[in-house]
Structures are given as C-alpha cells and as structure tokens.
C-alpha cells in the first residue's frame, strides 16, 4: 500500500532550491531528448543555453525578452498569492497594447516629451480595465476567473487583428496587417547604440521593488498572503474579500498592460498581429518558478527568456523547430510541480498490513 502524507515542515532553503533542481532535471531530460533526436547532447545544450548569450547582442536580447516576462509575472504573483487564478495576462497585455498603441497612433505626427508617458499610462489602464472584467464577473456572478480570463485572451487578440487589418492599418502600407510606425517621441529610448535593450527594463525593475514592498511590508500584502493561505481565515479576520479580488486583478492587468505597451513602444514600434510571442502565458511559468517572490521572479524571467533565445539558435544551428523552446518551458513547469509535490508530501511504502480481529 502506498500512502501519501503531508510533511510537517519544509525549510525555506529547500523551498527556493527546488526551482534550481527543476531546471537541472529539465537540462538532463533535454539532453536525453536531443540525444534521441540524433544530436550530441552537450553540444545541443550549448547551442540552446550558452551560444545565445555569449555576446553583448545576445545578453541584450535576453533582457529584452526577460523584461515583459518579469513585469507580467510580478503582476500575476499578486493574483496567484491571493488564490485568484488570472490566466489571461496575454489578453491583458494585448489590450494594453491596443489602448497604448491607439494613443501612439493618435500622436503619430506629434513630437513631445509628454507623448510617451501618455502612451504608457494608457497601456497600463487598458490592461487594468481588461483584467477587471473577470474580477467583476467573479465578484458579482461567481464566475470562474480561469475560464473568463482565458477566453478574453482570444477576444483581445481578435480585436487587435481587426484593428490592424481594418481601421488602424497603415494607409501607405500596401494592405499589410500593420499600423503606421510610431513617432520617435512614442518610442522607449534605446539604452545602448546598436542593441535593442530599452528603457522598459527600468519599469520592470521599479515594479519588482514596489511589489516587494507591497507584498512584504504592507497591510495589503499581509491580506493577500492570508487570503492565499486560508480564505476562511481572511473572512474571519474581516478582510474585504471582494475589494481585494478587484485590486489584485487590477495590479495584474496593469502590469500586463505595461508589458504590452513596452513591447510596442520598445522593440516593435508599431502594432501588428504578433506583438507578443505568448509572453502572457509563459509568465505564468515564470511566476511559479520564481516562487511568487519578486526577487525570485527576476531570476526566473531570465532563465525562461533564455529558452526563447535558445529555441531560435537551435532552429538555426540544429534545424529543430522553434517550438523546442516551449518544450523546455513545459518541462521546467512539469519538474517544478513534481518536485513541489515531493516537497510538501512524502510517499510512504507500507506494504500490506494484516488486521487482527
């Protein structure tokens, strides 16, 4: 007979080390998969994880990818910590991009210092409003936020599709599904000449710091923590549960919206169909890999960003599809959840016990 029991206590050190273990197991399994595909495993892993960041350009690309992942995951940690399952960050990112992009297009022939802050603000508000939809439906109609937020992803993607093909498409763009290029005032400044790394990274870092203060030092953070651990206790303590649901979704949506607006005003510079390679979904993995802890999320976002880059180099050098990146992301999450299970539970092999009457 096999019995599964909850462990009494897990140490904090191990709690933060299991993500490292999960990454290690992912690498081992990755090596095996590459071997089975007929590649030299170590060489393949080198192409995947080392080659992409062996020069300055690569490092800059790593940060370009890690920035939105980190921002979104920070926002998601507010939701996940309080037991609100916002799966629709991708949609909130897209909607933030649409609203921010709309403002940018409004000012396409304006120059001025005020343009960029306006766009960023609009993007954050856009994401926030979009995230409020599942929150409000959950509060008043007891709907499942997982389903609603997920379905809204497709709503916003289709809306973006319609806009870039129809009303917002570039009049001089030969019917390509994209908008005009934004004006220079609407672009996030590039940090180093010749590299794509942009000022969006500062927005991410500030949000990391703010999230840390809010989650660990404020009454709001305390309420979020307690609600996540025991809703019954939160109710007993008299926390305003409904207000909090709305609030964490708003924070989460605003972060995703900022990530969206950071992409279009940063590396992209216009609106088109593919403003995000599913950052909103991948950020869920980042949030959990980082243990919903702001500092952890910074490291996790760098690691997961690397799988995006690795997939691209692997595509070039090994001729494997770029979806290998998603395989690695999936494996990280799988091993993380599996090692978490063993972290919180122990399995006992009892053998068959005979009962005496």
């Amino acid at each position: 007979m096999i019995k599964i029991e909850r462990r009494d206590e897990t140490s904090n050190l191990i709690y933060f080390l299991t993500p490292v273990l999960a990454i290690f197991l992912t690498l081992v399994t990755g090596a095996i998969i590459f071997y089975l595909l007929g590649f030299k495993p170590l060489e393949a892993l080198k192409f995947f994880f080392i080659t992409p960041i062996s020069d300055l350009y690569g490092l800059s690309e790593l940060l370009v990818k890690a920035t939105p992942l980190c921002l979104i995951a920070i926002g998601l940690s507010f939701c996940f910590k309080s037991n609100n399952w916002n799966i629709g960050a991708e949609g909130q990112l897209t909607f933030g991009g649409i609203v921010g992009g709309g403002v940018a297009l409004l000012f396409y022939n304006h120059e001025g210092f005020y343009v960029l802050p306006l766009i960023i603000l609009a993007g954050a508000i856009g994401g926030m409003i979009f995230a409020m939809i599942p929150a409000i439906l959950k509060i008043y109609f007891n709907t499942n936020e997982i389903l609603v937020s997920l379905m809204l992803v497709y709503v916003s993607k289709l809306l973006l599709d319609y806009l870039v093909v129809g009303p917002w498409s570039n009049p001089e763009g030969f019917n390509f599904p994209e908008t005009r290029q934004f004006s220079d005032s609407a672009r996030l400044p590039i940090l180093f000449e010749g590299l794509r790394i942009h000022a969006g990274i500062f927005i991410a870092l500030v949000s990391v710091f703010l999230a840390w203060v809010i989650l660990f030092k404020t009454y709001l953070g305390f309420q979020i923590k307690v609600s996540g651990l025991s809703l019954k206790t939160a109710k007993y303590a008299g926390f305003k549960g409904k207000t909090m649901i709305l609030l964490v979704f708003m924070v989460s949506g605003a972060c995703a919206g900022l990530a969206g607006v950071g992409e279009i005003t940063g590396p992209i510079g216009q609106l088109h169909r593919m403003i995000s390679p599913e950052y909103g979904f991948t950020a869920i993995i980042v949030a959990f890999l980082g243990r919903l802890n702001p500092v952890g999320i910074v490291f996790a976002s760098l690691i997961v960003a690397l799988t995006y880059l690795g997939a691209e180099t692997a595509q070039i050098f090994l001729q494997v599809p770029k979806y290998t990146g998603q395989v690695f992301q999936g494996m990280i999450l799988f091993f993380l959840l599996a090692s978490d299970f063993l972290l919180f539970f122990k399995i006992k092999f009892l053998g068959f016990k005979k009962y005496e009457y």
Binding site: D8, Y219, G238, K240, Y357
Partner: protein, 499 residues
C-alpha cells in the same frame, strides 16, 4: 430471507478517546433499529466499522453467523451491506444513470431494466437521464438508496438521513424504509432525533461516550425517557461556578433574525430572538450541525443574515463585517481553531496581526510595524500562559491548547465587551480546558458578556447563566441554568418541546 447481524465486543480507541467501548449489538431482519446518541457518542465510529471504512481494535462482526472481515468499503458491499451517508457521494454533473453505472458490474441494458424495476416497485419518481445537480436533496438520497438496492442488500445503514430532507421527503423516506424492512432488509437507522426513533423504529440502542447504555423496544419508550438516556444523569452533579449577579443592562439584542443558505448542507436559521445582559454567559446547546456554525458566522459577521437586526450596545451591527464588529468591542473565537482562527503556516506574531484594530497601530500608514506587533504578541503569550515566548514560531508547532490560548488571548487582550466562542475546549486536554474555563469565568466577573455555543453539555452547565438549545436552526426558549435538567436538555436537543 432472514438476516442476522451481530456486533460482538467491538472496541475502537483513538488517542485520548475511546470511541467504541466493548460494543455488542444484535440485529435481525424484519425490524428497523435505531442507533441513538449525541455527538461523540460513538455512533459514527460503529457505522464506519460496519461499512469497512475503519478497522476495530478489538471485537468481531458476524453476518448470519459468518465472521466478516471488512477491510474496505468494497468488502462491505460484497457482503451485501449497503450504506447511505449523510453527505452524498454523487457526481453532480453526471446523469443519474451514469452515477449508478459507475460501480456496477452489470452492462447498461441490464442495469437500466433493473433500475426501472426498482423505480416501479417503490414508486420512486426520478428521471434517470437528468444530471444529479438538477435533483432535490431527497431525490439525490433516493439515488443513493437505489445504488444500494441494485446490489440486493441484506443490511441497509442510514446515517442521519433526514438532516437534509424536507418534512414531506422525510415521510416518503420512512414509507420506503418500512417497505424495505417488510421485504427482509435489516435496517439500521442512525440519528439523534428522538421523534424519528419513536415513529419509525422498532428497537433502539442508545449510545453514550462509546458505550451502549440501553437497548429497548420503542413501544416501551417515550420522548422523555429516551432524552434522559441520551444525555445521562451525570449532569445534575455539575454546579455552575459563576454567580448570577449579572446586571440588567442589555448589551446585545438579536431580533427576528433569519438566514436562508444556498448550500443544502448548511442549516437555515429561523426567527432567532434573544437578548444578552452585561456580565452574563448565555449558553447555546445542541447537537452539532443544527445551525451552530451558521449562528456563529452571523453573529461574527462572516455571513450576513437575510433580515432581522443585531443591536450591540445600542448600535445596529447586522450589516458590518467581522473587522468592523471588532472595532465595536466584540471578539470571536471560532470552532475551527486550526484553519479558521489562525493560519498554521504563519508565525505567531503574524497570526496576532490578523486582529488588526484602528487603535492597535499594527500598520502605520499601511506599513507593517513588526516591532509593535511582536511586542503585543509577547504580551499575549505571557498574559495567557502560552508555553513559548518565541513570537517567530510557526503556529502549527503549538499544541491545540496553546493555540487556543493564543487565539483567546488575541481576542481578549483588547478587553472586548462581548466574546462569542464556539466549542472553545473541543479536543483539548484537561489542563487547557481548566485554564480556558477559568478565563471565561474571569471575563464574566469583569462584567463582560459571553455567548458560549457548545456541544459539550457539562461545559455549558458549568459556565452558563442561561441556556438555550438550538435545533434545526431554531432556538428554544431561554432557560435559567438552574431549571435545566438532562431530560429537558435531551428533549430540546432531540427536537422535542418542553413547557
């Protein structure tokens, strides 16, 4: 077909409590047997043993003189022992027929014929192809019964079956059970409702504190004699420790309170009215699951009542949440100390911070004032003799007694005018129980009031000035503790009336 079920010298011991103490019972088919007792009397343990969920430490069970080895519920099923639990085990989104076919070896066509025959025979009106969630509680119970009938049971055990049923549904159920009994199915009916015992059953075994204290024919019994047996005579010996000199000033007035729950497993509260004086302890007795939980939550503000008023020190508070009620100097100690009153994985000082007042300044300008909370926590730990002074300790490492002291301390250190506690000594050792009882007496002496909701009658008689009994969501008239005797208490708890 004659069935004989014999329970012989069965004992089951849990750490700190003897759930079944040398229980011997004989059942024969053709009769309906009642197993009567209040909470913790050992009924559920016995039923779990009969249905193979747990193993007894000692003793045997014989079915028709054959020794039964029940290592799992499956063994019970294979020996034709059927069981309908209080909480249904049905898949809500699957249809009735799908639910029935899950654990049946028959193929679907055979099963459908069989089920249709059962429906016809007992005049059950259930559509087999609708999902379970569209059924009423009574119909769901019928599905559970049909599930047993498919297997031609020799023994059918019903655990508190009427707690979720309406009156009409209860009558229907009784008719069906009588029919089953006539057909030779042995029926064991577990309940704490005295009237049901008299109206349905032929024989009654009364259990108290793990022992069978009486076996008799129901025609030889009446409500009051059963009540006496269920509660026991020991109560008379306990003297109340508090003095009766509480003031006439009313501190809490609850009037015309009603609560209709959307959850079928919750109890609706009906027309709750009472007043509480300053310095008084009002005890609320009752068998658990009769609305205590709901009453506690409505008094604490975790749930809001549909209508009615709660006036505390002259202010209407029925729409306030627990935090706002605390600001008016109410304090709450819920039954579930492990997962509601505190979070086990949080540190002691964090659990103290749950009770955050405007005046306590735990959070200055929204920021966590760790030092202040820790100082405050240390004060609680020493004032309420919790056996640690480490405020960074996770609460899960406190024993039940120390955790309860911490919770009571957290609630009481702000000197509230009213403490509402629900089973405050449940599961604690004698030392901790004494400490908590003394604390409660002290509060009364300081002129503060207490509402003590408890399923422990000894505790209620020890501490309360007046006592009311809650049964099926209704409060009985409030009696002075002196006039309460086991018979009255038992009658009221079992759903009877006293003058």
């Amino acid at each position: 077909m004659n069935t004989k079920l014999k329970v012989s010298k069965v004992s089951k011991i849990y750490p700190g409590c003897i759930a079944n103490d040398n229980v011997s019972l004989n059942f024969k088919s053709g009769k309906i047997y009642a197993l009567l007792g209040e909470n913790g009397a050992g009924k559920s343990t016995l039923v779990k043993i009969l249905s193979g969920v747990i193993n007894p430490d000692q003793g045997q069970i014989f079915l028709n003189d054959k020794l039964l080895k029940l290592n799992s519920p499956k063994d019970a099923k294979n020996n034709n022992i059927g069981m309908v639990f209080q909480h249904f085990n049905l898949f809500e989104t699957l249809s009735v027929f799908e639910n029935l076919s899950i654990d049946s070896e028959k193929n679907n066509d055979q099963l459908r014929i069989l089920v249709n025959n059962i429906l016809k025979k007992y005049n059950f009106k259930i559509d087999l192809d609708v999902p379970i969630l569209s059924l009423s509680a009574g119909q769901k119970q019928k599905v559970e019964i049909i599930r047993c009938l498919i297997r031609n049971p020799k023994v059918l055990i019903m655990d508190e079956p009427t707690s979720v049923l309406t009156e009409q549904e209860t009558e229907d159920l009784f008719l069906s059970l009588k029919k089953f009994s006539k057909e030779g199915i042995l029926i064991i009916y577990i309940t704490h409702k005295l009237k049901e015992v008299l109206s349905l059953c032929d024989e009654v075994a009364v259990m108290r504190k793990g022992k069978v204290v009486s076996i008799s024919r129901t025609i030889d019994e009446e409500l009051s004699s059963l009540a006496n047996k269920m509660i026991g005579e020991s109560l008379n010996k306990i003297k109340k420790m508090t003095s009766n000199n509480f003031s006439e000033e009313q501190i809490l007035t609850v009037s015309k309170l009603n609560f209709n729950s959307e959850d079928p497993y919750e109890v609706n509260l009906v027309d709750i009215n009472f007043t509480l004086n300053k310095g008084e302890c009002l005890g609320i007795a009752g068998i658990s699951g009769n609305g205590q939980n709901e009453l506690f939550q409505i008094l604490s503000g975790e749930t809001l009542s549909n209508n009615g008023s709660i006036k505390f020190r002259g202010k209407e508070i029925s729409k306030l949440n627990p935090k706002e009620r605390r600001e008016y100097l109410m304090a709450f100690s819920p039954e579930d100390r492990i997962s509601q009153a505190a979070v086990p994985s949080l540190k002691i000082y964090e659990n103290v911070a749950l009770n955050n007042f405007k005046t306590s300044n735990f959070f200055e300008k929204g920021l966590f004032n760790e030092r202040k909370i820790k100082d405050h926590s240390k004060k609680i730990l020493s004032n309420f003799s919790v056996n640690t002074d480490n405020v960074n300790l996770k609460s899960q490492f406190l024993s039940g007694g120390n955790l309860q002291k911490l919770i009571l301390g957290r609630e009481l250190i702000t000197s509230p005018e009213l403490l509402i506690c629900f089973n405050p000594t449940w599961g604690l050792d004698v030392g901790a129980i004494n400490y908590i009882h003394q604390t409660l007496v002290k509060i009364n002496e300081q002129g503060k009031s207490i509402i003590l909701i408890s399923t422990d009658n000894d505790e209620l008689l020890q501490l309360s000035d007046r006592i009311s009994v809650i049964n099926n969501g209704k409060l009985s008239k409030i009696m002075s503790a002196d006039e309460v005797n086991p018979e009255k208490l038992g009658l009221l708890m079992g759903g009877g009336l006293v003058d």
